[in-house]
């Protein structure tokens, strides 16, 4: 009896080991590419089949900053992402409110329509956007690129926000007005705190989408509106991968920082757009 119990116990322990091995392999798969980039970015003379670069240098970072003009490009990316978040949120709030709180005939159909851009490969409408923007002189303006991003961001914002507004409990609002709060007070002190997390996660989501958006940017960027993903693409096709790596590390750090900072405030799952009912 005790033997069996010991055996089971060992199995239990073994199972845990197995699980941790699995998790470790998974984590390695995700993080090793970044480690390789980091090593490449500080190595010099790394030829043949060596595990580690023989010589370390920070030259490639100097290059990345001076030659590839990272500060300027970061500025572009942030301006574009900021504009896209602003526009998407301003579109998302009223539309999301209407979807979430009003009875609209044919709501499902309308919603499906709004979400249609998610069903179509982005390159299909990116071609159209590029042609229109060429004609309207919107190519190579921050506003133009941001506007193109809104095409992808707005449906998500509407979706997240309508879910948030739908979840707003009517009784809470009534209770507030029964207690004598003016509509403005109700709004500021009751509604805003309730919907703020939803708005925040919609904003973070649109921000990451815009920050990483490549297809639409490639079709609408110009020399003054090169964003980080486009610059990475250009750098992978020319020059040295050492410098590209250094650039990538500089670009990845903010993304990771954001992820680790916001994970306590907002359910990070929202970043994937994989919320329930979707």
């Amino acid at each position: 009896m005790t033997l069996i119990r010991q055996y089971l116990k060992a199995l239990w322990r073994g199972r845990r080991l197995l699980i941790y091995t699995f998790l470790l392999c998974f984590a390695l798969l995700i993080y090793l590419p970044f480690l390789m980039i980091a090593l490449k970015s500080i190595g010099r003379g790394w030829f043949g089949r060596l595990w580690l670069p023989p010589e370390l240098t920070l030259d490639w970072y100097k290059w990345a900053i001076e030659v590839t003009n990272i500060p300027e490009i970061t500025k572009n990316t942030l301006i574009i992402a900021g504009l896209a978040v602003g526009m998407a949120t301003l579109i998302g709030i009223p539309t999301g409110w209407a979807f979430g709180r009003y009875r609209i005939p044919g709501k499902e159909l309308l919603m499906a329509m709004i979400l249609l851009p998610r069903m179509i490969p982005p390159i299909a409408y990116a071609l159209g956007v590029a042609q229109i923007f060429y004609r309207l002189h919107l190519i190579n303006t921050h506003f133009g690129v941001a506007l193109a991003h809104v095409a992808v961001c707005a449906p998500y914002a509407i979706l997240v926000l309508s879910a948030t507004f739908e979840g707003l409990d009517e009784r809470v609002l009534e209770a507030a007005s029964v207690c004598g709060a003016s509509p403005l007070r109700t709004f500021l002190h009751v509604v805003v705190p309730l919907i703020l997390p939803g708005i925040l996660s919609s904003m973070i989501f649109t921000f990451t989408t815009s920050y990483n958006e490549f297809t639409l940017t490639l079709m609408t960027y110009g020399k003054d509106t090169v964003t980080l993903p486009v610059r990475t693409y250009i750098a992978m096709g020319e020059g040295y991968w050492e410098v590209t790596s250094a650039m990538s590390i500089l670009l990845v750090i903010p993304s990771l920082l954001v992820l680790f900072l916001i994970q306590r405030q907002v359910a990070p799952e929202k970043l994937v757009g994989g919320f329930k009912g979707v």
Partner: protein, 433 residues
């Protein structure tokens, strides 16, 4: 069906609202120019009639801007914008760290150095107000000059018209100022450098490199799977320069006068068919999969998978110097001819403000000065644009072949049709499955 009526109404009304109030978001209001734009979107929705892009560009250009050209005596500008559509990573570094500070120091002119692409640059220049252009000096690939002229963009004639303000331009070889790639340019660019492709090989694996294309082709079995080629649809010029040089060794693609033989005519000849078949065969000996762009090929080279390849001489040598390519890399030539790289031309658009032009000419003259040109060849291993070979320190020729030896092997891509054909059908016809 009745249930959908409200939806239809919603759509119709919202389309109306959309047409009527373009200012959907405050951002739009902030940027008045875009308001017009937004409206236009809608107008065109209804018409769905497409107007040629160029036409619209021009029409939009002619819209008067508030800026009024005031005829006040303007002091010479001390800041110019240099747009570079030619330099690779090595020269982007050189411009920014060496040339721009030198111009600032010697001439007191601040240069905003901007990297761009030809298509982008031309598109932008088309939208300029006359005399208001903001890219004062261009550094371009040779083909950009005929491309710009063909697009109706005016460029300043630098030689001989401006030889008095750019005395150093006299040192540039005249043939390079008269035409590029067989197309006359009438002195609309100043030659800053001459770039050359070379055979590069890993001296650890290859002790006696081939000296001619024919020899290379015959000995291909020795290096099977280790020959570095780039995909014919790569953005890099290596995409067509290498196969073009190969074809050139087996079939003549220009007539006696150096004019291109039309592709259709060429394709009918047995020589071409034989050369093309050899080229297809040659690709099957390449390191597979064929790298998409040169950096991927360098990765293979650095890993020791690729032993022998072709690339711009200056770039390869400079990379070796920087430690991004192994020290065992060596270079040589193939006697039937190696493609010229992207020669660098300095170009002045006619559409920039007049007061900038004297400053730009001064900068060009400085860039063509012996001191600057010698720096170019001694630090970057790039052949100078001016013929000043006797002034160049002799040690340079220990690293790169002297110009007089190299020039006969220099192959200018004179048959553009063939180059385009390689890029077009190459991905299917040349790249092994």
């Amino acid at each position: 069906m009745k249930r959908w009526m409200p939806v239809v109404a919603v759509l119709a009304v919202s389309a109306l609202i959309l047409t009527a109030c373009p200012a959907v978001t405050p951002q739009v209001i902030e940027v008045p120019k875009e308001v017009v734009v937004e409206k236009k979107v809608i107008e065109t929705v209804e018409v769905v009639k497409e107007v040629p892009i160029e036409k619209i560009v021009k029409e939009t250009v002619e819209v008067p801007v508030e800026k009024v050209v005031v005829a006040t005596p303007v002091p010479l500008p001390t800041e110019i914008t240099l747009v570079d559509t030619n330099s690779g990573a090595n020269f982007q570094w050189y411009w920014q760290n060496q040339v721009v500070p030198a111009i600032q120091e010697q001439l007191g002119v601040k240069v905003n150095y901007v990297v761009s692409k030809e298509a982008e640059l031309l598109e932008r220049m088309k939208a300029w107000q006359p005399g208001q252009g903001d890219a004062h000096l261009l550094f371009t690939k040779p083909e950009t000059i005929p491309n710009a002229l063909a697009a109706g963009l005016e460029l300043e004639t630098l030689y001989p018209d401006k030889a008095d303000v750019i005395p150093n331009i006299e040192k540039c070889p005249k043939s390079y100022l008269e035409s590029v790639l067989g197309v006359p340019i009438g002195g609309k660019g100043a030659l800053y450098w001459r770039s050359q492709y070379a055979l590069i090989y890993n001296s650890e694996y290859i002790k006696d490199p081939p000296t001619s294309w024919k020899e290379f082709y015959e000995r291909r079995e020795e290096w099977k799977g280790h020959i570095g080629l780039v995909r014919p649809d790569a953005k890099s010029g290596a995409s067509y320069r290498i196969p073009y040089s190969f074809l050139n060794a087996f079939v003549k693609m220009t007539d006696e006068e150096g004019k291109a033989i039309p592709l259709a005519e060429l394709q009918a000849t047995p020589e071409w068919q034989d050369a093309w078949a050899k080229l297809v065969d040659f690709y099957s000996y390449a390191k597979l999969p064929i790298p998409a762009e040169p950096p991927n090929m360098f990765e293979d080279f650095n890993a020791g998978d690729t032993w022998i390849s072709f690339y711009a001489l200056d770039y390869s040598l400079w990379s070796r110097h920087q430690g991004t390519m192994p020290p065992i890399i060596k270079s040589s030539f193939l006697e039937e001819g190696m493609a010229a790289g992207s020669d660098g031309y300095l170009v002045v658009p006619a559409g920039i403000p007049e007061e900038y032009k004297p400053v730009v000419y001064k900068v060009i003259n400085f860039l063509l000065s012996d001191d600057q040109q010698i720096r170019l060849i001694t630090t970057m291993w790039q052949y100078t644009g001016t013929d000043i070979w006797d002034k160049i320190p002799g040690v340079v020729w220990d690293t790169i072949p002297p110009w007089e030896k190299m020039e006969p092997a220099r192959l200018v891509i004179a048959n553009k049709e063939v180059a385009d054909y390689i890029k077009e059908v190459g991905p299917e016809a040349l790249v092994p499955k």
